[in-house]
Subunit: 150 residues, 2 copies
DNA sequence: CTACAAGCTCAAGTCGACTTGAGGTCAAGA
DNA sequence: TCTTGACCTCAAGTCGACTTGAGCTTGTAG
């Protein structure tokens, strides 16, 4: 089984070496040794990193991701808590769908100010209701860099 | 039309007064005047705040939200750009759905380490493929405080 | 009239997830 | 053997979205 050094991992995942070190510091991934001073990883970490990316895309913090599927591959959370996550995600998906519908509406509605459009108002009210379910979730997967098509 | 002061807005929306000031500083909402030194808002801002919350839930930065539906209610982005947002949201929804399925799987699969479960592997590969579409989106609506049911 | 709770401003701090920089180490090729 | 370039560590910096704190102002209840 070929062992990979940090730059190979970085190249094949697109994740910066500094970030990989950071992940190791935080215990999300593990290097299985060193060649000289350089870290060596098994190809397996590539999958783990895919999982980490997915978790991040889902808005979970590194600590949470670690708790859900640790570097050893064993979930450190109870079934119960995982199901809570699942429900949170379902709500989040609902919210995103609402938002998408509203943005689509904004893009298409000819009203000068969308706040005056009864249709828009309706969408807004609906989405407000929905979020009043159970969750105090206050997310924002901040895009910091990248994206932003001028 | 009754004018509201900052604490009334705060109470009815659950958003901290400091955050409301922050939003005004950034130009997301506008107070229509002062009573003495105290800001006065029209009830309309409550809707705007609902919209802001939705945008945040969608992972947009305050600047982006401002660009999409400004404090005056006029979208400052072209239809084109809004549609790009819509597509981004669709992809994000896909990602979240994948993640939800995987977490659900982790919660239910009896395998000692989910990475060894072919089923899980499959889910992971599928979700990796999907995100290789068009987007460089690297989100994470960090939960910082709140939530975390012990 | 005076006290006070509630607001205000402005600067500085916080939190998570990294990035950047300075200075050190080492395996491998010329 | 010497050089080099890839990697290392550790501390400090950055970014967004607020929060906190210090010190000031003011409408209103007593």
């Amino acid at each position: 089984m070929k062992l990979l050094d940090i730059s190979e991992i970085s190249k094949s995942t697109g994740i910066a070496a500094s970030a990989l070190r950071h992940y190791e510091d935080k215990g999300l991934i593990t290097s299985i040794g060193r060649r000289g001073m350089k870290r060596l990883f098994t190809p397996e970490v590539i999958d783990q990193l895919a999982l980490i990316n997915l978790g991040k895309a889902g808005g979970f913090s590194l600590d949470e991701i670690k708790a859900m599927f640790g570097p050893d591959g064993r979930p450190a959370l109870s079934r119960q808590k995982l199901h809570v996550r699942v429900d949170e995600l379902d709500r989040q998906i609902q919210r995103l769908s609402s938002l998408r519908d509203m943005i689509r509406h904004v893009a298409e509605c000819p009203a000068p100010s969308h706040m005056e459009c009864p249709n828009f108002q309706k969408l807004l009210r609906i989405s407000s209701k929905k979020s009043h379910g159970t969750s105090p979730m206050t997310p924002a997967w901040s895009r910091s860099k990248s994206s932003s098509p001028s």
